[in-house]
């Protein structure tokens, strides 16, 4: 029987598991979390018990390296010691590792109390914790709406939701027919109604350009921005806040695909019609192939699971994915990142949060003829060399310095030296 290993138990990975099973494969599903569902189905893990009872389900499993299709796994509590070490040798591998928020830097974004939109959502949905009582939600993209709704659901006060793109950009991408087609219209109406009932303004063409505070965020400075996100002088407004939630879209987590040797396009894994990557036997689905949301991720996962089990995906599966992807492309066009965002930065603005590399550091290094190329730039400024290995700053540093983002991280997930040295395999 074909053994399919699926990394990631979010919408893409779970759909892959369901379809690989249906195609007759023996399926193993791994996830770092101790419950299935990923970021999207947070708090709804019970829905997947029946599906996972037919798979080998490994929660709390960190894949830290791949050699081709050979999967190196540590099992046990996150970042613990003495996790159990395993190696899997599947016939096919489906990578469904998802995405995290992308946040553009701005002065003060490193202050405690500034969260990604996804963090606010995770804490609200997963733990019933409100990040604050006077919260401003800002950035770009439709995800800001469910984040604000989740905050309202747990009793947090939301001051406003700010979308940086102007109304005409947003409307150019949203199509009611397409939204209705993929079932997104009800969601949108639900969120809009919730904001209206709580009298939370949704303002377009306005961005957070600075967070202020000493030991924590206390004020958020917003400004009107043009279509390219350049600040309109004199339009600044200061909100008193106890939390600020920011998201400018998402970045895929392609580390394992890179480790497997898969070819990327612009930071996303390149896949064929049946979600096949450039590496034989390795498939990719969901946000690592392009940001598209849960519906597109599940549609891709279904194809990946079916194909990984050795079957040819039918027209219905392919059409479902293509519709979802087309809608995702429209949404991306409706919520682009404006090219003039670096205008928010000052010389002393932290860009690399881990190493506290400033915009001034980066500019002078990029202008220095002695540091050509991303490698010398990293070594010279330490940008991207801290614990997160460029996950947070990589795209911004690349854009500010005129290079391409490097996604290669030799260890895809942190592993303790003792664990690396421990030769003993678990059966």
């Amino acid at each position: 029987m074909t053994h399919v290993v699926i990394v990631g138990a979010g919408p893409a990975g779970l759909a892959a598991a369901e379809h690989a099973l249906a195609a007759g494969a023996d399926v193993t599903v791994l996830d770092q979390a101790d419950v299935p569902g990923g970021q999207y189905h947070r708090g709804a893990s019970h829905r997947f018990e029946a599906l996972l009872s037919r798979c080998t389900w490994w929660p709390e499993s960190t894949v830290w390296a791949l050699e081709g299709k050979r999967v190196h796994v540590l099992r046990g509590p996150a970042d613990g010691t003495n996790r159990r070490r395993h190696t899997l040798e599947p016939d096919a591998l489906v990578l469904a590792t998802g995405a995290h928020d992308r946040v553009l830097p701005f002065p003060g974004w490193q202050l405690p109390g500034v969260f990604t939109a996804g963090a606010a959502q995770a804490l609200a949905k997963g733990e019933r914790v409100a990040v604050g009582q006077r919260v401003l939600v800002a950035g770009a993209g439709p995800f800001l709406l469910p984040v604000a709704a989740s905050l309202l659901d747990i009793g947090a006060g939301v001051r406003a939701v700010l979308e940086a793109n102007p109304v005409r950009t947003v409307l150019s991408g949203w199509s009611w027919r397409a939204a209705a087609h993929v079932g997104k219209l009800n969601e949108l109406v639900h969120y809009a109604g919730k904001l209206a009932r709580h009298r939370v303004p949704y303002l377009l063409g306005r961005a957070v350009v600075e967070a202020r505070g000493d030991d924590r965020v206390r004020e958020a400075v917003t400004a009107r921005v043009r279509a390219d996100w350049s600040v309109v002088p004199g339009t600044e407004r200061t909100y008193r806040v106890d939390a600020l939630c920011v998201g400018h879209g998402f970045a895929g987590q392609p580390e394992l695909a890179v480790a497997a040797g898969c070819v990327l396009d612009g930071g996303f894994v390149r896949v064929g019609l049946d979600q096949r990557t450039s590496v034989p036997g390795v498939f990719a689905a969901g946000e690592i192939t392009g940001i598209g949301g849960a519906v597109a991720a599940a549609a891709e996962g279904a194809i990946a699971g079916w194909a990984a089990a050795g079957r040819t995906p039918g027209r219905a599966l392919l059409e479902r994915r293509d519709h979802a992807r087309a809608f995702a492309r429209r949404l991306a066009a409706a919520h682009p990142i404006g090219a003039a965002w670096p205008g928010w930065l000052r010389e002393d603005t932290v860009v690399c949060r881990c190493e506290e590399t400033t915009y001034g550091d980066l500019k002078s290094a990029a202008a220095d003829p002695a540091t050509p190329g991303p490698h010398a730039l990293k070594l010279g400024t330490r940008a991207g060399l801290g614990p997160c290995q460029g996950r947070m700053c990589g795209a911004a540093v690349a854009e500010l310095c005129g290079g391409a983002e490097r996604h290669h991280r030799p260890i895809a997930q942190p592993i303790r030296l003792g664990e690396l040295a421990e030769p003993k395999e678990n059966p």
């Binding site: 509590p77 996150a78 970042d79 613990g80 963090a119 995770a122 914790v129 949060r353 997160c388």
Partner: protein, 87 residues
């Protein structure tokens, strides 16, 4: 997620609910930061899903644990940390 648990943070008792992460317990208790960078700047949760490594702390003597990824267990002994200590 309803059973109360108690952990200590730098020796001080903080209560939370079973099922919460260490980050969730600390935030619910009103603590916003528990790490200092090399420059001494305070940091806490940023990404909330294990990507940014801003929320590192020491759990039962083991340093550099992501507070947002680790489920809190009753009796956990948490210590805040600085970059120098964790290095």
């Amino acid at each position: 997620m309803s059973e109360p648990i108690a952990i200590t943070v730098d020796g001080e008792t903080v209560t939370g609910l079973a099922g919460q992460t260490v980050a969730g317990v600390l935030l619910a208790a009103g603590r916003l930061s528990w790490r200092r960078t090399r420059s001494g700047a305070p940091r806490g949760v940023f990404c909330g899903i294990g990507a940014c490594f801003d929320c590192l702390l020491t759990v039962n003597g083991v340093a550099d644990v992501r507070a947002c990824r680790r489920r809190a267990a009753d009796g956990d002994e948490i210590r805040t940390q600085s970059r120098e200590e964790g290095a």
